[in-house]
Amino acid sequence: MTELIADHLSVTINGATLVHDMSFTLKRGELVALLGPNGAGKSVALRAVLGLAKRAGGAATLGGADTAVIDPMTRARELSYLPQTRPLAWPNTVRDIVALGRFSFGANLGRLQSADADAVASAMAACDITNLSSRKADTLSGGELARVHCARAFAANTPLLVADEPVSALDPRHQYRVMDLIADYVKKGGGALVVLHDIGLAARYAHRLIWMGGGRIIAEGPPAETLTETRLASLYGVKARINGLQVEIEGAL
């Protein structure tokens, strides 16, 4: 069973230690939210775990293989990675972008094998973008583009998914739609690690929260146990009221 494991991982860039001694595991069938204020080291940590950034110490493995030396193709068939979205270089069609999710299976855009074409079609159907199939990327709204990227990740049919702020810059409705897609993926047996800034959204969807501050994991556990008013005050510097899994932020401290 594929697992992503970080073991006492640390990252140093230009002499500054951005991630200290970080350990966590991502298994199939669970949705884990990585939370923390800006500059907590979330993105760097993810990149280091995936072997995309150099680590200074510790280990990270995917399905038992060291991610620092793993072949990118092998990694891509085990784990889909959605980095913070960047503008696309060319106005490609939606179908071509989703088909890039099949890159690690040797798919050629424009003439997909039937297995690739099927995976692309069902990912587009799952994300409700089939009607956008031949639209150009530069004509899409932010919400549509976010779903296109989700479909791209799902098209690879990987056991694991890592997404860095997949719902940033989306309106509330699209935030919920994207989170629903990820939750469905987890329900079908996938394992997802998602960086979120909306604590309420994280508490609602995630099975487990990893709280990060100053490059360290501060706390880890189910929302009911780790989501507290004092934690929000000390980590984010906000005054909040918590009622069950409802979070109401009243202002900065």
Partner: protein, 330 residues
């Protein structure tokens, strides 16, 4: 979709027509029957000479050079995710012709006929490697293009210096040929020397073209879907260096065709850099063959250089493409 399927066969057909037209047209009038007979080896010695020694090698040289520059341009644009990247703009052509000029200036060509293509390719590889090295340090493609412009100017200045110091008028006129770009008086022997490098470059570019599609998403996501970034960079740097160096060894520096051809092709292939590679190569070849026919037919006192004509058409097109880009595209 149907247009895309017809694109490559259509361009191949036009390519054959363009080369045939180049064999038919010239200062000595030859009717199609005599040209066909000469191509089949059935004509008299004079016709054979005109077709096999003068027109056909020249037309094929123009086509092959165009194809190398078109494919290099399309590949560099895919790699750098910018439609303005091209061997000429990035200074690769200029460095290659500087290499060729060095070989001529120091008489290396007298030592071995391979010296010229080797020197041109060496120059091209230095330029592509510099661009790649700079790309690791800067994330901005605009900065990269400015570095290319700098490399280009420096190579041009060094070349002018060598021309200043040229030992005799023959060397000087050879140098001007390589600086301005021309396929006049090329023989099949010239082609044979540069072609292996040029085709090796094209093969490398075509073999790794899938990675260019992946780079559409940006480097981090491309690596996430399974692209080995380092290998992709090396392949394009090597492929574009070899192809451009080979092209310059045949014809000198010919600019802008590597921008124009991919720009025209892209809408027909859903803007996919991988799929634009082959049609860009074919179209750029066709453009140069027709431009060269134009150069030969224009009634000027001394023949125009192909590179000059290409720049006269290409530079305004470059400005136009650059001006239409949105600032957000950086």
């Amino acid at each position: 979709m149907t247009v895309e399927r017809l694109l490559v066969p259509g361009l191949l057909l036009v390519g054959v027509i363009s080369v045939a037209a180049a064999c038919l047209l010239g200062s000595t009038p030859l009717d199609p029957g005599r040209v066909a007979a000469a191509l089949l080896g059935q004509a008299d010695a004079g016709d054979m000479l005109v077709v096999w020694q003068i027109r056909l090698p020249r037309a094929i040289a123009a086509f092959v050079v165009g194809a190398a520059l078109g494919a290099s341009g399309a590949a560099l644009q895919g790699l750098l995710r910018n439609p303005l990247a091209e061997p000429g703009v990035l200074g690769v052509s200029a460095c290659a012709s500087l290499g060729a000029t060095f070989a001529l200036y120091y008489g290396l060509v007298g030592i071995s006929p391979w010296a010229l293509p080797a020197a041109a390719i060496f120059g091209a590889l230095i330029a592509t490697a510099l661009i790649a090295f700079a790309a690791v340090r800067t994330r901005s493609v605009v900065t990269l293009i400015l570095i290319g412009v700098g490399i280009s100017s420096f190579a041009g200045a060094t070349m002018t210096l060598l021309m200043n110091l040229a030992p005799n008028p023959f060397t000087l006129s050879d140098m001007i040929n390589w600086m301005l770009g021309s396929v006049a008086n090329r023989s099949f022997d010239d082609l044979r020397l540069a072609a292996p490098f040029l085709f090796l470059g094209l093969i490398i570019l075509f073999a790794t073209r899938r990675g260019l599609s992946a780079l559409t998403l940006g480097e981090e996501a491309a690596s996430g879907i399974g692209l080995n970034l380092r290998r992709q960079w090396i392949a394009v740097v090597l492929g574009a260096g070899l192809a451009t160096g080979g092209a310059v060894a045949i014809a000198g520096a010919i600019g802008f065709v590597g921008i124009i051809a991919p720009h025209i092709v892209r809408p027909f292939v859903s803007h996919d850099p991988a799929r634009s590679l082959l049609p860009s190569a074919l179209l750029a070849g066709i453009i140069l063959v027709f431009a060269d026919i134009g150069v030969r037919l224009l009634p000027t006192n001394s023949e125009l250089k192909l590179g000059v004509v290409a720049a006269l058409i290409g530079a305004p097109a470059f400005v136009w493409i650059a001006a239409r880009r949105r600032a957000a595209d950086d």
